[in-house]
């Protein structure tokens, strides 16, 4: 806040107060819209928003392994919004596209991460006001007694306003076995909010594929208002190895040669186990490797070099319980 200049009567502002206030709150100030002539040409890549979007899409490609279909879909949505902006400049009006989405996929396939990127892209294209994702689960929406659900849901919607509302494990909202469950009320409130033409809220429903299918089947009204269903496939072995490399590099560690081979073998074993949750399991495995590495380094009782601190060795990975049976056999 600027410091007070002392008392004084406010002078009428020379500029239009509406324009002044919109400039002050830091929102995108839309210049006087100029309609282009019919024969004008518009270079899509010259749009400054396009450059920002391209940056986000590039980082999506670089930092997320695999997920080809997801990336294609994100790119399509970005292109749609970009073309809509171009059409606007020619004075061609069309209805604002509905962008509510459902992300289905196994645990640890990157649904939340992609939602964050999606928010950045939608913001860059001016579809939402802030690149913000408000993550909620059933607990944040459903109340504990009659009359508690609506205020709770509305509060969550108010917090997500102008951004993305990410409903994790959305299928818990609907409990068919309990007909007095308040989840249904949440769905009804969400529906009215999603119908709201003026709102710029984007709702993303996320969850595991099979249960989301039942959820949408039981709520046809909801399903028909979610035009984008994006499926996240499980990663294969090679992709998981690349994810592990990226994660290790991001934490300023590295595998030595033997360790990389062992980690690959570890992944093969881990993938066969129940409760394998893709990238999340990889992250947890790396965290445990760091623990074992730390224990090994402390046990060395000698001065350490930088090399020691960044290297995860074969031994650190072999310490995993997945290799325990093998060790006993030897």
């Amino acid at each position: 806040m600027s410091t007070s200049q002392g008392f004084g009567f406010p002078r009428p502002s020379a500029t239009d107060p509406a324009a002044a206030s919109s400039a002050a709150d830091g929102e995108q100030t839309t210049a006087e819209p100029v309609t282009l002539a019919d024969d004008a040409e518009l270079d899509l890549s010259a749009d400054e928003a396009a450059a920002r979007v391209e940056g986000t899409l590039a980082s999506l490609d670089a930092e997320l392994v695999g997920l080809a279909s997801v990336k294609r879909r994100v790119r399509e949505i970005a292109s749609l919004l970009q073309v809509d902006r171009a059409r606007e400049q020619f004075g061609l009006s069309s209805s604002k596209p509905t962008l509510h989405m459902s992300f289905t996929g196994g645990p640890g396939t990157g649904k939340t991460t992609v939602a964050m990127r999606m928010a950045t892209i939608l913001h860059a294209l001016g579809y939402i006001r802030a690149p913000r994702v408000h993550v909620v689960t059933r607990d944040d929406l459903v109340g504990q007694f009659i009359g508690h659900t609506a205020p709770k849901t509305k509060e969550a919607l108010a917090r997500a306003a102008g951004g993305v509302l990410f409903i994790d494990e959305a299928y818990y909202l609907f409990r068919p076995e309990n007909e007095r469950d308040y989840g249904q009320e949440v769905i009804e409130i969400l529906l009215t909010e999603m119908e709201n033409e003026r709102g710029d809220l984007v709702v993303i429903f996320a969850g595991y594929p099979d249960r989301m299918a039942t959820f949408f089947a039981a709520n046809p009204g909801l399903s028909s208002r979610v035009p984008h269903h994006i499926e996240f496939e499980d990663y294969d072995h090679a992709e998981l190895v690349r994810i592990a490399d990226l994660m290790v590099a991001a934490e300023n560690f590295r595998f030595d040669e033997a360790a990389r081979a062992t980690f690959s073998e570890y992944l093969t074993r881990r993938m066969e186990r129940p409760n394998f949750s893709n990238a999340r399991s990889v992250r947890n495995a790396i965290e445990r490797c760091r623990l074992r590495q730390a224990r090994r380094l402390v046990g060395l009782r000698r001065p350490l070099r930088k090399e020691d601190l960044v290297t995860i060795t074969d031994e650190d990975i072999r310490g995993s319980s997945l290799f325990a049976d093998e060790a006993e056999g030897e």
Partner: protein
Amino acid sequence: MKLRYGTFSYLPDLTDEEIAAQVKFALDRGWPVSVEYTDDPHPRNVYWEMWGLPMFDLTEPDGVIAQINECRTTFPDHYVRVLAYDASLGRQSTAMSFLVQRPAQEPGFLLERVEGPDRTQRYSVRSYATERPAGARYGGE
């Protein structure tokens, strides 16, 4: 008589877009915003009825506007104001307070003179609206 009360009171009544922009200003500074209403316009009546709790952790004004509109539909003939509270150390007080709704007819105030001892004169202000019971003051039958 138009009640001049709170911030922006000498400006024309704010439109919803302007209210949203002001609320955004408050939220950007981390001031929680609340909505209050009353039908007693006396200038010394500082404690108005709260419409719900203050709204914390918002970043966009949409939720506040929704609450204002709910309050307006429930009390179409009351004064409704929006408050922004600055909780930062050293300030800890209301940072902004402005009207977002006023009754269609505002009858104004009566200045009452009361004789005190030694021919001193004391003044008090009484709203014509408060001659009727609460809830039936502005257009309410």
